[in-house]
Amino acid sequence: MTVLETRGLSKSFGERLIFENVSLSLGRGEALVLTGPSGAGKSTFLRCLNGLERADRGEVIVQDACIRAEARPREFSEAVRSVRSHVGFVFQGHCLFSHRSVLDNVLEGPVHVRGLKREACVPRAQSLLERVGIAHRANALPRQLSHGEQQRVAIARALALDPQVLLLDEPTSALDRDRTEQLTRLLGSLLREGVAMLAVTHDQRFAASLGARVHRLEHSRVVETLWERPSAISSK
């Protein structure tokens, strides 16, 4: 069952073409990795998927919602909102709300976006923090946490809204090997629960251990591929 699909997505910055006519689809519980040279526009592609960036042409379809690049501003922003309710985004820099505690970061979505009662949301927020292994820092401020811890809070924050798709921008770039394995285990269990994910990464080992399909963005084209040097996985 397809949960996320792009049709003919294209984007340029001025004269510079970033990607053109990208169509791909992502099924329930499926992982897809987008790789390619630095500066090719992988993050831009990811940002187009949840409307942080507006594509020039094409569509992004998530469940019943469809972001049409050519839509009028009001229609566009309504579609974006509806897509975002199904899609969680984990930023490369984590981007936690620096003025709120770890627990409040996780509660922000359910309480203020969904409008639920805070007391009703606290137990689930705490169990999410437990799941990502950070429950003991629930009252800390983000700047008191390490990079790896911040990332896990960011994932918990995204999961709090029960997304069907998780978009991850360079999730392993700041993690050492142990932390990467921890992350892989966490994401693997989410995949088994049916969450689909699309990650921008250069990390082949990470991609392989998630069992992800690999797409490569280069020269403004996205093509499904194996790593160009399959042996690289074993040699690393």
């Binding site: 942080l52 820099g93 981007c95 620096s98 922000e108 203020h112 976006v113």
Partner: protein, 507 residues
Amino acid sequence: MLSSERAAPSVLATARMYTPLLALFFCLSAACEPAPSSGPRGLARVQAQGVLRWGADIQGGEPYVFEDPQQAGRLLGFEVEIAEALARELGVRAELVQNDWTTLVPSLERGTFDVILNGLEATPARRERIALSRPYYVFQEVLSAREADTRIKDLASLRGLRVGTLANTQAWDMLEPAGAERVPYEGVEEPYLDLVHGRIDAVLLDDVVADRYGQKPGLRTVGSLGTGEYVVGVQRSEPDLLNAIERGLYNLDLSGQLQQILERWQLHGGDPAPSAAALPAAPAPKHASFDLGPHQLLLFLEGAWVTIAISMVAMLIAVLLGMLLALARLPSPYALRRGLAALATVYVEVFRGTPVLLQLYVLYYGLASLVSLDAFTAAALGLGLNYAAYEAEIYRAGIQAVPHGEVEAARAMGMSGALTLRRVVLPHAARFSLPGVANDFISLLKDSSLVSVITVVELTKRMTIAAVDGRSWLLPGILCAALYLVMSYPLSLLARRFERHLGGHKR
């Protein structure tokens, strides 16, 4: 050891607080030193320079001294003609030195000009400080009221009513024992305009002014409450110059020239014959110095309270309106919002790019026929509208400093623009803006002294009145400065605390 370490910063802080005060004290004392005299003095100096420099304020307007509307730079007025005639008697040219009317006496003492010739009233208080000539004009104190207002009949009927006049004049002094609430003006047209608009109940001013500016529809002249004299002021240390002026005025009077000038300007106030002119029924002479009694102190505290009240209301307006302006200027894809942003930008540029004094004049006098605000409201509103432009810029900078990633994270989790603003942008922006806002509050506290131009007696105006009354600028100045410091210092501490707080968060 521990206690002394603790004590040290507070001593330092106290010392820091008093340093500006001491500096001010020394500056003021230096300013009060009489200027060292060199070269000839008195009449000899005037003759040596070939010019009689006379001090006057062109803002006093027609018919005293004013610029020819047909020919900029050319001066007209009965005092211009008297000054020229006097100078001719002395065998020199006349040259006007522009000086604010309220500070004519101290300027004369400092030697900025040779004589004062500008509606200077002969009061016992002035006579104690400078030498006064025979009068060149005897004026009537004319009381004006609205036609429909039958309450006002004489001086006694003014008790408890708001009466407009010029500060530090004979009329100002007459009104105090009468129990009237005195409203000080700096120009001659404005009191009558405010009388028409009902902002005040009566105006007491010289006939010279009342005949020209007080003849407005809806107003009536109640009558004269007494007479007074316009005289020429000369430094006490220059009796020979005074003699020459006296002789000159006598000659002008004898030859009929003085009469001709006054008639040409249609001035018929009283009998200019010096022998007949008795001293006006002025209040008892005051002490020759600024007397810091409980009464005076109370007046200063009252002025300080007005300053605080105006500043607080103005700041509230500025903070709220500034917030709206800053929000209106946020980028948006919608055309309507972009139009609003353009309007907000125009507002900021206009209010920031023109003097607040001008804005106060326009708001209070310029728009009086449309919206008749009372002086306090106009003052608070005028300052508030002006400072809103600055606050808007501070908030805009604060909003720009908000971590962009957090805004995107909020949008990505599905927050609307308004919710993102409330949950992420404003909490950050407020923290970044607070030091700037606190600094602006300090500026506003001091800028509030400008509102005296629209008749509000706040701390600085109170100081000016007391200083001119008591003929001393040193003590009232220090008292006034101390009160400002007492009000602003806690604010600077607060601003510094905000800054430290901000630094702690960023690092």
